[in-house]
Symmetry: C2
Subunit: 272 residues, 2 copies
């Protein structure tokens, strides 16, 4: 394979295999090319990723060495994408009873879901994550998008018992904003003791659902590795745990009927 085709192939390969350490021998055999040629290809890719602020290509030397691509948006790239999201959210009336925002169209867009996932993944690339936990419904596409950049499986907590999940572990939790008791269940096979779990949801208000998922992590004797949300709604008593949010809005701060969104705390967790 010629350099031009190798570069296309490597770009697709790294896109589909983030955080996977691959040996030069693998590429050398795949392309029937000398390792020195592959090293030159990788240098071109490394430079491109850095210039475009979309990730790092790291070379590990030694017998167990190889190369690994870590997708990582710069703070500047994330803010550019958040500006676009904010503009689209502000463009129409989204306020629902109870101070909720209608964001199903935003979450329905493959483009927005990719930029949301890419930004949140960037905040957690340096944590050791074994699995991403989320809850139906709108957390799911965000969790899968993050998973595609970190390369770990997604497990989905259910708010109803589900026959296709096999035997389930069920817990009860208090939904903070409604002061009601809910239950959630997770397949017994889904999570192993000691695994490090990233908890993801679309919206954080008081944090009842997220506290429920944290409780579920503990129930399986797994470890909480982080919490990430798309939008946090401020002006509520808040959960204790640290979390990363992309956007923030205050139900009380409105321009007419329009809520005004701003950046969440993501800036503290990513590099310039």
């Amino acid at each position: 394979m010629k350099r031009s085709s190798r570069l296309i192939d490597l770009t697709i390969y790294f896109n589909n295999h983030p955080n996977v350490r691959t040996s030069l021998t693998y590429f050398s055999e795949r392309f029937k090319a000398a390792k020195s040629s592959i090293s030159e290809d990788l240098a071109i890719l490394k430079k491109y990723y850095e210039q475009e602020n979309i990730g790092q290509l790291i070379t590990i030397s030694g017998v167990t060495g190889g190369v690994v691509f870590i997708p990582r948006d710069s703070k500047q790239m994330i803010e550019k994408n958040l500006d676009q999201l904010i503009a689209e959210i502000h463009a129409k009336d989204r306020l629902l009873p109870g101070g909720y925002l209608y964001i199903s169209d935003i979450i329905g867009s493959p483009h927005h879901v990719r930029t949301i996932g890419s930004a949140l993944a960037s905040a957690f690339q340096d944590e050791q994550i074994d699995v991403i936990m989320t809850i139906a419904t709108k957390g799911i596409p965000i969790a899968y998008s993050i998973a595609s950049f970190i390369n770990v499986p997604v497990i989905c907590v259910r708010q109803s018992l589900e026959i296709t999940e096999g035997s389930m572990v069920t817990i009860h939790y208090e939904s903070g904003s409604k002061n009601t008791l809910y239950s959630m269940g997770l397949s017994r096979q889904a999570l192993k003791k000691g695994q490090r779990v990233l908890v993801i949801d679309d919206l954080l208000k008081v944090g009842g659902t997220i506290r429920g998922m944290v409780q579920m992590v503990q129930e399986f004797e797994a470890t909480l590795a982080g919490i990430g949300v798309f939008i946090e709604s401020s002006g509520h008593p808040r959960i204790q745990e640290d979390y990363v949010s992309l956007l923030k809005y205050n139900e009380k701060v409105r321009e007419g009927k329009k809520p005004i969104l701003s950046y969440g705390n993501i800036g503290k967790y990513v590099k310039n």
Copy 2:
């Protein structure tokens, strides 16, 4: 930008913008390069996609012309991926009461979800699709994966009323396998009259849930453009509509306690 960097950039661009017609002028300005150079880049990409059986790069001439990437797995590529899925499904005991299969770990893998979505998308690339409709929970990641290859939004039908969806249209439908009445709802804003809808779910047994979604499409005066499922379970009276399935299994055909899966009807809908 040099050719090597342009090829990397174009590969990422087409990956993130399938089915989008882009003018050569756009690339020419983006790269500050002559259109003749861009044409040569595109010829290299076109050859690569065809050789690897992962899609077509189509050039449209004229004033409104440009270039469009259509991701499309060959039949051979799909069967290779299905073989891998079947092997993994056969590798452990997955049979649940009621003849259901435990596939949450398969659906939880970003890698498998990508190959499932890529295969199903290939069957529908020639249809005009405006939106993909699915239902919580396991249909969601599959629908988003397909959406990322076709480049259309996803809408998610709910089995419970949901305050964050605004006003909803609710229908009642009969779950074929249980002879019980269920309801499902969809936000009134989610779908427009006349839109062409691809209905997606993870599992097709008798087809009650899918019939429900088809009924929902009609309720909005939209048009059914196709139905796609990951696994169809045979040995049931079946829905009338055409559908595309990746895998098939018959609850009655087992090797010990293991159900034996085979290819669904996908082969009829894709090219060699």
